[in-house]
Symmetry: C2
Subunit: 357 residues, 2 copies
């Protein structure tokens, strides 16, 4: 029987959550909800329930090594795979896959982001079990699809084939739609959100890389004797800069013909934006959301306020705003202008020479 | 020749500047502009230039004793006069006057609030010198009047008699006017702002109290042998609760017939409200004011932002707001709703059991 592995991708920069997230402390390392556990820790805790600790790998940028080992002391140092550069998810997954290949020749692998929120944990575990069994017995790439609860424009969608049950063949992957298209997707019932959580067997993903990203595959397989040895990091440092910057969705999933989706209701949010955080949070009677901090609102509606835990915000006459403070930065901006946060961070970085980055 | 004395009144609670000011740290003790000196210290520094250190008295509530001695280490402990209760300015001035009477029988006294801002310091010193000379030679109560620069509704006004020069007899005192009346006052050129800075000789103010507030005068004079002795504080603690709560303006100045005003241009602001602070502060090209902190504005106008010195505020799409943070409280409210801050403080005090008072 195959061993089960989990690869947690934790290399994101998360600038969309500035000033909460910073270059040296992206959102996966933050305790967003004041629960005492960061998003990475919550992710690890979930997978730890069905995957042996020694079979969990975390892939991230080399600059986050200490943070990861600090947050996940159960991990051995060699379970943290360090990328010297950001190269999107395809090279990241190729790296982890080659490491696992050096350990075993038969494995089922779950690949997941480290910064998503999953509210229905028991359902999620059941879904993972079902998925692991499926990929063990089928030469298929499996993704977890989420039944949309709204015509969200911030997610990619998956169109499923006709059929019965929760396990369907994928008809098409689509990029983030505009509002009109999202409404159509939402109403047909044929479209699911792409969660970015994937399951496959080692041999299936190996074949997919060889077929669809042969250049990446051959770069990594050139060092096959070096993985899981002292020379692995040097080899990775050498080949990584030469790898194409491409996502697994675009490089593999959208092009492969053996892709299935497991449609699930697991209380999933990718927490990609303040807006999605607002959507999934508890609201008061005026649709205000307070994260961690205490708040008193007067004539204010539809705001999301995120201050440090011990703080109080008193807000009068404000509607539709994001108010976020962390360390030495306070950001106030319209909720529907949050896409400009990247611009703000860039401006501020230039103006203050990186001080508030 | 008389000695010159100065009495600095520093007993205010300053709840209008919450959350900057707190019950245990009213605005006179705050370094509003990041200059390194609090408003009280700036006030002391100004008077110190023409008054000997040992002739400067500070009157305040007993709870601020340590703060005052910490901020003004040049003072002896007995130069800080401690009120056991808040009783407005008339009892406060009667107390200081009786202390001075126990030291000397001939004095010219300047009485001033501790929380005003004066930008033209040299002109102010000249005005004080002129005023001290006037009250030494005239049995008159003198107040400093400020030429209005706008039809402000937040200040009291003084109407002056016809005549020549800057020293005029007062025709009437008026309370804070409504907007319409303020406009008339401003346009006639006959009205000056009441700065709340007074000058008089010891004998003149003594006579005024005996004539206009005989009850207060007799309460204090009953203990005339106790002032400037070890028994002074006990005596004050005893009579203070029985004193009428009344301002010197209402109790004496508005009723006396020997009141003069010295009209001056000294860059004065009473800093009574966020609005007045906004008015007197430097503005950027979009009429935004930043106090101490760094700010980056996008599509934002007419805001005043006061955060701690090391902080950055990034503000998008906001106009006409006050954004103030201090310690564990962030306040965002419309500038023209700032009169409600007292209500906010009261609400918060009840809701959080005094935590953010």
């Amino acid at each position: 029987m195959s061993q089960n592995y989990c690869v947690i991708m934790a290399g994101g920069v998360g600038s969309r959550f500035w000033p909460f997230s910073r270059t040296n402390r992206p959102k996966q390392f933050l305790d967003f909800f004041g629960t005492g556990r960061s998003l990475l820790q919550l992710t690890y805790d979930r997978f730890r329930k069905i995957i042996p600790a020694e079979n969990i790998l975390v892939v991230s940028n080399v600059i986050y090594k200490d943070t990861i080992l600090e947050q996940l002391p159960e991990l051995n140092e060699n379970q943290v795979l360090l990328e010297p550069h950001r190269r999107n998810t395809a090279p990241c997954i190729a790296y982890a896959m080659n490491r696992i290949k050096a350990i075993t020749d038969k494995a089922n692998i779950i690949v997941a982001p480290s910064d998503h929120l999953i509210l229905k944990e028991n359902e999620f575990i059941d879904v993972l079990k079902e998925g692991l069994e499926f990929v063990e017995n089928n030469d298929s790439l499996l993704t977890i699809g989420i039944k949309p609860s709204r015509p969200e424009t911030g997610y990619g969608y998956i169109q499923i084939n006709d059929g019965e049950g929760n396990l369907r063949k994928v008809k098409t992957f689509t990029e983030k739609p505009n509002a009109e298209l999202a409404k159509v997707f939402f109403e047909t019932g044929e479209f699911y959100w792409n969660s970015g959580i994937f399951l496959w067997s080692l041999s299936t993903i190996d074949n997919a890389f060889e077929r669809l990203l042969p250049d990446v595959a051959s770069k990594f397989s050139a060092g096959k004797n070096l993985f899981n040895t002292q020379d692995e990091q040097n080899f990775i440092n050498e080949i990584y800069p030469t790898c194409i910057n491409i996502s697994i969705d675009y490089g593999v999933m959208e092009k492969a013909d053996n892709v299935y989706v497991l449609c699930a209701d697991i209380g999933w949010t990718d927490l990609g934006t303040w807006g999605s955080l607002y959507e999934m949070s508890n609201k008061d009677e005026n649709q205000n959301v307070a994260l961690k901090c205490k708040t008193v609102f007067y004539e204010s509606t539809d705001n999301i306020v995120a201050l440090p835990q011990d703080k109080l915000a008193v807000i009068e006459g404000l509607s539709g705003y994001l108010i976020a403070e962390s360390d030495n930065v306070l950001l106030i901006c319209k909720k529907d202008e949050e896409a400009r946060i990247r611009q703000f961070v860039n401006d501020v970085t230039v103006m203050f020479d990186g001080e508030f980055q």
